[in-house]
């Protein structure tokens, strides 16, 4: 139960947030907070395979973007009343969150199944390059989709409809994302302690040993990859709703890099790591971007320094400082 404390605290703060800030700042703050949570969700999905499964996937944006596109495409068809397909029977678009979002997860999960089945035949360097390459393939696929805006992407007419909620209202949308994030965190806290999660971590630590024990490791890694892809699809569906805009930029390769940064920044294989990582990364971006338009020239070296000197993520950095201070106080 001790593990649930940070979650409860963050949850309380998050619940209060839209009431603490008011006026002009509200839209801005709630907007950023929503974006942080959505990126945290994507980070959580990547953390499952990267942090708990030891699979360095450099193609996570593909699943994120696919989820976004599914929502975008369904919504466009609903807006213009054009059926998606007329054969073998007519299928129309939809703006219903309860239909579109699960479909986004399904599509991203299926894509992860195909990409994972191929990429997981390899490991190490090959795996990194192959996931990156397949993600780029999906990127080019959406770039070439002229019917849905090609390179320019497509704007959504409105956010999804979710029963009594009005997602067009930033505050309601914020609370829905918060609820989803809390739900996902809870489910993941169960998953990583259950049989599947423990086996996955065993594979991360020593795959050869796990195979010799009798585990068909490929199967476990593939299932983790698919779950991870579907979750990233959900994050994508949410980002499409927040920005009311979908474009290939959502699946371009730097986005995959951002997700890795978010996971590592927060500390790999930590349940709440991606939340901290997303908050830190997006706020850092925000601060640097406000300071200079060339903020990436600072962010780049920060990443290099982080790798060279703070390998366990900010979490360890803070924990290390604290324990050192404590040790100093004791001695």
């Amino acid at each position: 139960m001790r593990d649930l404390w940070p979650l409860a605290l963050v949850l309380l703060a998050a619940l209060a947030l839209p009431f603490v800030v008011a006026g002009m700042d509200l839209a801005y703050v709630v907007g950023i907070a929503t974006r942080i949570m959505i990126y945290a969700l994507a980070g959580i999905s990547l953390n499952l395979i990267l942090g708990y499964g030891g699979m360095v996937s450099f193609g996570h944006a593909a699943f994120f973007g696919t989820g976004a596109y599914v929502v975008g495409i369904l919504s466009t068809h609903a807006t213009y009343g054009e059926p998606l397909t007329t054969w073998p029977f007519e299928v129309g678009g939809t703006e219903q969150a309860l239909i579109a979002w699960p479909l986004a997860m399904l599509a991203a999960g299926l894509l992860a199944l195909v990409i994972g089945a191929l990429s997981l035949r390899t490991a190490g360097l090959y795996f990194i390059m192959i996931t990156l390459a397949f993600a780029q393939m999906i990127f080019f696929f959406f770039v070439s989709l002229q019917a849905y805006g090609g390179e320019d992407g497509l704007s959504l007419f409105a956010r999804s409809q979710a029963g009594p909620l009005d997602l067009g209202d930033d505050r309601q949308f914020y609370y829905l994302v918060l609820a989803l994030l809390a739900l996902v965190l809870f489910l993941k806290s169960r998953l990583i302690e259950a049989r599947f999660g423990r086996v996955l971590q065993g594979i991360r630590d020593n795959e050869r040993r796990m195979r010799a024990l009798g585990y068909p490791t490929y199967r476990y890694k593939l299932v983790a990859f698919v779950i991870s892809g579907a979750l990233a699809g959900l994050a994508g569906a949410l980002i499409a709703n927040q920005t009311e805009f979908v474009s290939p930029a959502f699946l371009d390769w730097p986005r995959s890099g951002d997700f890795i940064v978010i996971v590592v920044l927060g500390g790999m294989g930590r349940l709440y790591g991606p939340l901290a990582g997303a908050a830190l990364f997006l706020l850092l971006e925000e601060v640097l971007a406000a300071w200079t338009e060339h903020w990436m020239i600072i962010l780049g070296p920060i990443l290099v320094l982080l790798v060279l000197y703070a390998r366990g993520g900010v979490w360890d950095l803070i924990a290390g400082r604290l324990s050192r201070r404590k040790a100093g106080a004791d001695g």
Binding site: R190, D205, N206, R209, R211, P216
Partner: protein
């Protein structure tokens, strides 16, 4: 003689031009300890790798309890009753000793696709794991991360991980390698206690251990078995003495 538990025939495994295993034949009866000895580079570790399934055989047949497993992947062989330890101990360093064994026990279940119930609350698995730890004398270290265990203890842990699966055949690759005499003696005593319950293929350099434990011994030189028989016969075999034991037992 009843059908042997493990039957290896004409096994060939080559690295480029070097034949690490060159027509190895071997039979192990249920409950027997069969030692494979030979000078460095004789192909003993390769033989274990091929039997375990980590290295593909180029030719030959491996049968476990009558079923050909020559083409089965590692994990399938493990499920059919093969367990192994490595020459360089291989455990899950970040997991506690108990959790290492729990995962080994879990591997024997049909699958481990459980997404909800915490593994540490699965009492049946934990009990079996604790019993296996007790069998190798590690019950006091159950909650320590494997990485913090001493070398000898990690080896004991590896054996516990193998035992919990109740294998038909245990492959031990130099279980006393890199150990002091005290740890070595403990492992030998442990293996002696296991004798009869399961078959063991033992690769070992420590001749005292080999002659204390083995029911049969096969001597390998340059990838080929040059002699096979009970310990007394091997000790007496002139060719073996010339090829190998001469340096050691003289």
């Amino acid at each position: 003689m009843a059908e042997p538990l493990l039957q290896v025939e004409g096994l060939v495994k080559a690295y480029g031009a070097v034949r690490a295993c060159d027509g190895v034949a071997l039979q192990i009866a249920a409950g027997q300890i069969h030692a494979v000895i030979g000078p460095n580079g004789a192909g003993k570790t390769t033989l274990i790798g091929v039997i375990a399934g980590e290295l593909p055989a180029e030719a030959g047949i491996i049968r476990l309890a009558g079923r050909a497993i020559t083409r089965s992947p590692v994990q399938a062989r493990a499920k059919q009753g093969l367990a192994r330890t490595y020459q360089i101990t291989s455990v899950l360093p970040r997991f506690s000793a108990l959790d290492n064994v729990v995962l080994a026990a879990l591997a024997q279940q049909r699958h481990a696709f459980g997404f909800w119930r915490p593994l540490r609350r699965e009492a049946a698995l934990a009990e079996r794991a604790a019993a296996a730890l007790a069998r190798v004398g590690l019950e006091a270290e159950r909650d320590r991360p494997a990485a913090t265990l001493a070398h000898g203890q990690q080896r004991q842990l590896e054996i516990a991980m193998a035992l919990v699966a109740e294998p038909k055949l245990l492959l031990l690759d130099e279980p006393t390698a890199g150990m002091g005499p005290e740890d070595s003696a403990r492992i030998v005593a442990l293996l002696k206690a296991l004798k009869g319950g399961l078959a063991i293929l033992l690769v070992e350099h420590d001749m005292d251990a080999v002659f204390a434990l083995a029911d049969r011994i096969t001597v390998m030189v340059n990838g080929r078995p040059i002699a096979s028989g009970p310990p007394a016969a091997i000790r007496a075999d002139a060719e073996v003495r010339r090829a190998y034991l001469g340096e050691d037992a003289a």
